[in-house]
Each structure stands twice: as C-alpha cells, then as structure tokens.
C-alpha cells in the first residue's frame, strides 16, 4: 500500500492529537468504528459561547489513512460553526488526501466522527448543566 504525500504528512506529523475532559459541558465527544474492523476514531470538539468550534482533538486506532483523515478533520472543523462542520463530506476528505478506493471507509468514519461529536455536544446542551455521559456508552454514538 503506497500512501499519498498528504497522508504521510498527517501520519508523521498528526495535528491535534490528544483528549479533552469529556465531562466538560463545552466539549463534544464522538467515538466511531470498532476494534474488530481495525479502526476506532475518537474526535472531540470544544465549542465556545458563540457556537464556534474553537479547538479539536483526536485519537485514532487504525491504518495510516484513518489517522490522516482524523488529523485532517480536526484542522477543518476549527473556526466553523456546528452547522458548517456538519457540512463536511467524506468525499472532500478523499479528495484532499487522495485516498484510494480501499481507504474510502476511513473518510466515512471521519465524517461520522464529526457528526457524533456534534450530536454529543448538542445532547449535553439539552440536558441540565453538569450532566455527562458515561464513557462506555459513548462508543455507540455512531
């Protein structure tokens, strides 16, 4: 499997690796994929009072393309409103990273991770402040 230069760059210099406190009310966490399939992505967004994603973090278990896809979307979501971030499509990721057909599922997973993180953040806002989701339930949010 040979990778595009952009995949290699994101893989070797991943952007925004890490974790936020998932119980923080301003943080949305999306965990998608399954170990059995060879990919699990955790994407977290920190949303400011204006509803803008001001920061993002990821951790990914998966191939180089999965790591690159999640690294890329942490850059893309920053500065976007939740609605704008919802518009990110996997096909844009495929194009940017020049992913081959066998790696398209990585881009789909990254798109799903954004949506899961936003859904988690929105669900928290609807609950009373301080309520948080049990970590082990979050993985089902895909």
């Amino acid at each position: 499997m040979s990778y595009s230069a952009k995949v290699v760059d994101h893989y070797e210099n991943p952007r925004n690796v890490g974790s936020f406190d998932r119980s923080d009310a301003s943080v949305g966490t999306g965990m998608v994929g399954a170990p059995a399939c060879g990919d699990v992505m955790k994407l977290q967004i920190r949303v400011n009072q204006d509803g803008i994603i001001e920061d993002a973090r990821f951790k990914t278990y998966g191939c180089g393309s999965a790591i690159a896809s999640s690294s890329l979307v942490t850059e893309w979501v920053k500065g976007k409103t939740l609605d704008q971030a919802m518009q990110i499509r996997n096909t844009q990721i495929v194009e940017e990273l020049a992913l081959p057909p066998v790696k398209i599922h990585c881009s789909i997973l990254a798109e799903d991770a954004i949506k899961a993180a936003i859904a988690d953040y929105r669900a928290k806002r609807e609950d009373e402040p301080g309520a948080s989701l049990a970590p082990s339930k979050l993985a089902a949010a895909a």
């Binding site: 994929g33 170990p35 059995a36 399939c37 990919d39 278990y61 180089g64 790591i67 799903d112 895909a142």
Partner: protein, 408 residues
C-alpha cells in the same frame, strides 16, 4: 538512534515472503542462460545432453535434502502449482474411490482456494480447526476421516505463525486407511529436517524461493512405493513422465538444486544462528507491555516470530517502521482489510489479529539489525499508543469487550 553505516535500509525481516537467492545459487544459474542453453528434452545433440545432466543433478540435490528418490521429484513453477497438481491430480485420479477431502483452516490460500475449486467440482471438503497454539488436534483429525476420504492435506510449517504440524503422526493415520496424504512444505524446506524415507507422506510441495533459490520454480514429490497416481493438470509434450508438460527452465532448476544443496549442508549451523537472532528479537519485544506471541514457541521454525501489539493497528505500525520490511498477516492477504484468518482460527480477538506483525529472520540478518528493530518498535509502538483511543481506554480501566461498538 543513529543509523549505523554498516546497516542497509530497509532491514529485511520478511524471509517467509521470499528470500534473496544465495550468491552461490546465482553463480550456478548464470551459465544456463547463455552458454548452456540447450533444451533438456533435446535427445539428438550435446546441447540437450548437457542441460539434461544439469536438470538430473538438481533433481538429486532436491531429493537429497528431503530423503527422497530423485525419480520422485517433479519440477513445477512453484509451490502453488505443486499444490494444485497434488490436490486436483489426486482428487481426480481417485474420485471413484471417494469424494471426501480433509484440510485445515490455517492452510495457505494455494491449498484453500484449490479445495474450494474441488468443492465446485463435486468434492466435499472438511476444514479442521486448530488449537489456540496453532497445532492440529490429532483426535479431531482422526474423527474427520471417513470411508470415502481420499485425500488429506496439511502444511508442515505455517507461513504466518511458523508452527510445525506433527506430519509423522498424521501420516500414520492416513497410511493405515489408504488415504493419500499431501504436505505443503513450502515454508519447511531448509528450516527443519524432512525425511521422506521415514515420513508416511505421499505428496509434498516445495518452493525454491523460500529457501534462497530463484522464484518461478518448485517441485512436487510423488511417492513411488506405495505408488501414488495423479491426473496431469498441464498437458503437452509429456515432460516429467507426463505429469507436468512444458520445457524445463534449466537455469531455474539448477538454481533450486544448488539452493537445496546449500540448505542440506548448512541448515544446522544456519538455523542455530537464526534461532539466536529470533530469540534476541523476542526477548527485546516482549519487554513492551501488552505484547502477545501468536502460535506455539517450541513447535515452531527457528526464524519466525509473530507478535500482536495490542491497541496498535498493524498497518499503521508497518507504516511507522518503514525502515524494517515485515508483513502484517501474510503477504498474500495483506492487501485486504480483513484481519488474518490464521490468527482468527487460533481464537485471537479481531483486535489482536489486526495488531499482528510477522517478523521472519534469515541467512543475511545481523545482530545489529535486530537491535535496531527492537529499539524502533519500542519507540513507534509507544507513539501509536499515545494516539490510540483504545490504549487510553485500557489505561482508564475500561473493558473493551464491554463496549457496544458500532460496526461499520
């Protein structure tokens, strides 16, 4: 860590995928490409006589490594063709005796895809499971044998995990019942002693390029006493006593002969050195937390180490250690997204199967290369785990099996 000037990169640790031809093999082959170019089937002139002699000398060299009579060796294009000829040839010849075949789930695709084809042709095939150590349960094998079983096929050494099946005991079970027994020995020749004078094996497949010979040539052993019959699969000029037509590739055959001659002479000293390197590698890698050895360590060829690095995905790890050439699963299946079917058959979880790397050392591996590899793995596994949500959850004490994952 500074790269030593003496090391060449990438470091090759994939000797089970293929081996470089030994320089002595190359030297033996070259004259047969130009000066000694005759067709060994040409009976009417010296050009043919000269190459026929070379082919027969190579046949003796191959036979000598495995305790066979040279007349029992049939040249083929490689182990895949040998396996096809053995399985299809025996199944077709003995089809009036029965239509049942027995093999193992962890066989190479050359066997499994051939038995699938035989199923499409009306044969019935039983695929045996292996124990968690990768070895066959002989009682289970015995229970699978039926009055209409005509053929059993078991690999001597597994290509992914390197475990050695008890060919002697399986041979006893088959011979007593008049069942033809084929053994895929592609990964075994030159790695462990093979004595066909003693083993009750009827057919055995060999490859040259796994034993420091050239690619594109192999052999099938076909027992003479008691005689085993096959239907030919490639028809033509009736070469190889009608079992495999086609002009013999003299240079390739000479190369295989020389490679097997070297293996016979140097196997024991070579393997002692190779085993020490493999043990050095495992002793270093096993210090990394959450690392699992796949397959039994004792009934195993000396050059193989198959390791799962839990919470790290194999393909990304291979990408991280590009200074080292290794494989994830087997080279034949690593283009697919499926985890290794061999590791799944051992009962390994999907995560551990996805996290496996096969290291296979060989004749030209050095201690410095192994030390470099251990240090590289330590750093890269740690880096990828820092990036892994599974490692994070493991650290938080989350039982990953209790999580409802959304399969995709």
């Amino acid at each position: 860590m500074a790269k030593s000037d003496r090391m060449r990169f990438p470091i090759y640790l994939d000797y089970s995928a293929t081996t470089p031809a030994d320089p002595r093999v190359v030297d033996a082959m070259l004259p047969y490409l130009h000066e000694k170019f005759g067709n060994p089937a040409s009976r009417s002139h010296a050009f043919g006589w000269e190459t026929e002699r070379a082919v027969e000398q190579a046949r003796e060299q191959v036979a000598a490594l495995v305790g066979a009579d040279p007349r029992e060796i049939v040249w083929t294009s490689g182990a895949t063709e040998s396996i096809n000829l053995a399985l299809k040839g025996a199944a077709q010849f003995y089809r009036d005796k029965g239509r049942h075949l027995v093999t193992v789930r962890t066989e190479h695709k050359a066997t499994l895809d051939t038995t699938r084809e035989l199923e499409r042709c009306g044969f019935e095939v039983t695929y045996l499971d292996v124990k968690p150590d990768g070895l066959l349960d002989l009682q289970q094998l015995e229970a699978a044998l039926r009055p209409d079983t005509i053929l059993v096929s078991v690999m001597m050494v597994n290509n992914e995990i390197g475990v050695i099946q008890d060919i002697e005991a399986i041979g006893e079970l088959c011979r007593g019942r008049g069942i033809v027994f084929h053994v895929d020995a592609a990964q075994a020749s030159g790695k462990i002693p093979i004595d066909l004078a003693r083993l009750k094996v009827d057919l055995m497949s060999f490859s040259a390029h796994k034993t420091y010979g050239p690619k594109g040539v192999g052999a099938l052993y076909v027992r003479r006493k008691p005689r085993v019959r096959l239907e030919a699969q490639i028809h033509g000029g009736g070469h190889e006593r009608g079992l495999r037509s086609g002009t013999l590739p003299t240079h390739q055959i000479v190369g295989m002969g020389e490679a097997f001659r070297i293996a016979k002479e140097e196997m024991s000293s070579d393997n002692e050195r190779i085993r020490a390197l493999r043990d050095q590698l495992w002793s270093g890698l096993s210090e990394i937390p959450e690392v699992y050895l796949n397959g039994d360590m004792h009934r195993r060829v000396p050059h193989n180490l198959n390791v799962s690095f839990n919470f790290v995905e194999g393909e990304s790890l291979i990408m991280a250690i590009k200074e080292v050439a290794v494989s994830s699963g087997s080279a034949c299946t690593s283009a697919s997204l499926e985890p290794s079917y061999v590791l799944r058959a051992l009962g390994r979880s999907d995560e551990l199967a996805h996290s496996s790397i096969r290291f296979t050392v060989g004749r030209f591996t050095t201690r410095e290369e192994i030390a470099y590899t251990i240090e590289l793995l330590r750093r890269k596994v740690s880096r990828l785990r820092d990036m892994s949500p599974l490692w994070e959850m493991h650290g938080e004490g989350v039982d990953l099996d209790s999580v409802q994952w959304a399969a995709h």
